[in-house]
Amino acid sequence: MERTGFDEFVRARSVGLLRIAYLLTGDRDAAEDLLQEVLEQMYVKWRRIHGAPEAYARRALVNRATNRWRRRGRKPETGLDGYDVSAPDHSDGVVVRDTVLAALRSLPPRQRAAVVLRYLDDLPVHEVAAALNCTAGTVKSNAARGLERLRAVLGPVLVPDGGER
C-alpha cells in the first residue's frame, strides 16, 4: 500500500508530538512508547487519515494516554498537598521541567490534556474539543481550571517576586 507522505510527516512532526506525549505522560520513556504506538497506528491507517494526520495524531495521543492512566488501577494522582514549593534556581532548566511535570501530574487527565493542547500546541478551542471528544465549553472550563491550578503551583516557584500573575 502506498503511504505517500508518511515518512515526511514523521520527520517533520515527531518532535512536536513527542512534546505533547511527554507532558501528557510525565515520563520520557512512556512518551516515546506512546508516540511510537500512535505512529504505528497511523502507518496502518495512513490511507484514511493522511489528509489531516496531525489532528488524528493528537486525538490518538490523548486517548492512549488517558487509557494508560485508567490502567494504572485508579491509583490517586499526586495531590497538591504534598507538593514542595521550595524556590528553585530559575536558570536550571531541569528544575523547570520537573516542576512543570509535577504540576501537570496534579491535574486530572482531561484538564491536563486541555492545558497541554491549548497552551503547548496553541490549538484553538474547537480543535482541542475534537481531540478530547467534548464540547468547546468543556474545553474552556477544563483549561481554565487547569490553568488556575498550574498558576497556584507554578506561580510561587517560577515567577519572580513581583512578577505578573
Partner: protein, 410 residues
C-alpha cells in the same frame, strides 16, 4: 502567571526533547507488524472510537455535497429532521462545515437507522465525521449510536444485538457468522461476501451477539482489514474494563546457543504466533481488556530453539510451544489449572511441563522462585521465569511482599 508565561514554561519543559534517530525505522517496522497483527490495531481503533473519530475529507476523494440519500426513509422529511437534530446534538462543540449529509435512511428490524457524515475543519485539513443514528423501536427518540473513523463501519442494534447494519462505503465487505478453534489451536471462519450493495447499507438479522460478538467482518482489499463495530463497547460491556495489562516477555538463559545475535526482527517474528492471522482472530471482535502478551524464548537442553507462548482469544487463553521449528506449533489446550495456579497478592504461577524431558517452564512475574526435585534440596532460580529440569517436582513462589507458597509440579 499570564497565559503567555504558562506557554513559556511548557515550552521550556519540553524544549530539549528530541526523537531517537531510528524512530522512523522502528515505526515502519512496527507498522508492518501491526498490519499483520490486526488485533492490536483493532484495540487502538476502539480507543479512538470512544473519542469520536473522523476521517479526512481529502482522503475520501469526494466532496459529498452532491450525494443523495439512499434507503426507504430517504424521502421522509420528519425522520430526516430528527436525524439532523440528533446529529447536531452529538456534534456540539465540534467545528462543522456545511450541513450533515444523510447518506442512508431506512427501516431495519431494530427501528429506523440513518448513516450520517459531516465535514469538520481542522488546522491543515478537514476531518470527516461519520456515524449511525438509530431511532430505536417504535420511533422512540433519535439518538446517536456511535461514530468513528473509517469506512466501512457497522453497528449491532436491537435488545439482543441481532440486527447488523453495515455501511460498506462502496467497498467489498464479507461477513463471518462465527468462529471455531480447531485441534491445532487455529481460529477458523467461513466468509460470505455481503457488499458492496446498492445504497451502501446492508441490514442482516444475525444470531444474538449481546455480550459476546462471534461474527466477523472483513473489508477485502490489498490486505484484509477488520470492519469496526461502532457500538462494540455497548454490545460487550466487558470491553470497557481496564484490567492491568499482562506483559511477560522473557528470554531464558542459554539464548546465545540457539538465537544468534544478528537474528533479524522478521525471523524473530516467525517465532511469534501473535503475528499469524490464523492464530489471532484478526477479523473478529473480542473484548479489549488491556494488552496481553505472554511469550518466553530460550533453548531446549539439546540447544534447539524453544518458544512457549500464550495467546488470548476473548476470555480464552491458548497455550502453545514451538521446539526446533516455528512451522509446527504445538497446541497444548487452554490455560487452566493444569498450567496456572493462582497465588496471593494477585500473583499467578504459570507452570508448563514440556515434552521430551525438556523440562518445566515456570513463570511468576516479579516473584522469587526456587525449586526441588523429590526430596532433594531447594535450589535457587535466577529470575521470575525459568526452565526447570524435568525432574523438578515442586516450586516455591514468593510474591513480592508476600510469603512463600509451595506448588506441586505435575
Amino acid at each position: 502567571m499570564t497565559e503567555t508565561q504558562i506557554r513559556e514554561v511548557l515550552d521550556r519543559a519540553t524544549g530539549d526533547l528530541s526523537v531517537r534517530p531510528d524512530l522512523l525505522d522502528r515505526v515502519r517496522a512496527g507498522g508492518r507488524r501491526r498490519v499483520i497483527r490486526r488485533r492490536a490495531v483493532l484495540a487502538g481503533g476502539l480507543a479512538v472510537l470512544a473519542a469520536g473519530a473522523a476521517v479526512p475529507l481529502s482522503a475520501r476523494g469526494r466532496s459529498g455535497n452532491d450525494l443523495e440519500t439512499a434507503g426507504d426513509l430517504a424521502g421522509d422529511p420528519q425522520f430526516r429532521a430528527r436525524v439532523r437534530a440528533a446529529w447536531a446534538t452529538a456534534m456540539l462543540g465540534f467545528a462543522t462545515e456545511g450541513e450533515p449529509l444523510i447518506r442512508w435512511a431506512g427501516r431495519t428490524p431494530a427501528g429506523p437507522v440513518a448513516v450520517v457524515q459531516q465535514a469538520s475543519p481542522v488546522a491543515g485539513g478537514t476531518l470527516w465525521a461519520e456515524g449511525f443514528v438509530h431511532a430505536g423501536r417504535g420511533l422512540g427518540p433519535v439518538h446517536l449510536s456511535r461514530w468513528r473513523e473509517g469506512s466501512p463501519m457497522a453497528v449491532l442494534l436491537g435488545p439482543r444485538r441481532d440486527v447488523l447494519v453495515v455501511w460498506d462505503a462502496g467497498n467489498t465487505v464479507s461477513l463471518s457468522a462465527g468462529h471455531t478453534v480447531d485441534a491445532a489451536g487455529k481460529v477458523r471462519r467461513d466468509w460470505e461476501r455481503i457488499g458492496p450493495v446498492h445504497g451502501g447499507v446492508l441490514v442482516r438479522t444475525v444470531a444474538p451477539q449481546a455480550g459476546d460478538v462471534r461474527l466477523g467482518l472483513r473489508e477485502d482489499g490489498n490486505w484484509d482489514e477488520s470492519v469496526p463495530l461502532a457500538n462494540y463497547e455497548e454490545v460487550v460491556p466487558a470491553s470497557q474494563e481496564n484490567r492491568t495489562p499482562t506483559r511477560v516477555e522473557r528470554w531464558l538463559p542459554g539464548r546465545d546457543r540457539a538465537w544468534p545475535a544478528d537474528l533479524t526482527q522478521a525471523e524473530l517474528d516467525t517465532w511469534d504466533l501473535s503475528f499469524r492471522p490464523d492464530y489471532n482472530d484478526n477479523l473478529g471482535f473480542h473484548p479489549f481488556t488491556g494488552h496481553f502478551r505472554w511469550i518466553v524464548r530460550g533453548a531446549a537442553p539439546d540447544g534447539r530453539r524453544l518458544v512457549v507462548q500464550i495467546l488470548e482469544l476473548g476470555d480464552r487463553r491458548r497455550v502453545f510451544w514451538m521446539i526446533g521449528t516455528p512451522d509446527r506449533p504445538h497446541y497444548a489446550g487452554e490455560l487452566d489449572d493444569r498450567y496456572a495456579t493462582g497465588l496471593p497478592r494477585q500473583t499467578t504461577l504459570v507452570h508448563i511441563r514440556l515434552p521430551e524431558q525438556i523440562g518445566v517452564l515456570v513463570s511468576a512475574p516479579a516473584a522469587t522462585l526456587r525449586y526441588r526435585a523429590g526430596a532433594g534440596p531447594w535450589l535457587p532460580v535466577n529470575g521470575d521465569t525459568a526452565l526447570l529440569p524435568a525432574a523438578a517436582s515442586r516450586v516455591e513462589v514468593t510474591p513480592r511482599g508476600g510469603n512463600p507458597v509451595p506448588v506441586a509440579l505435575v
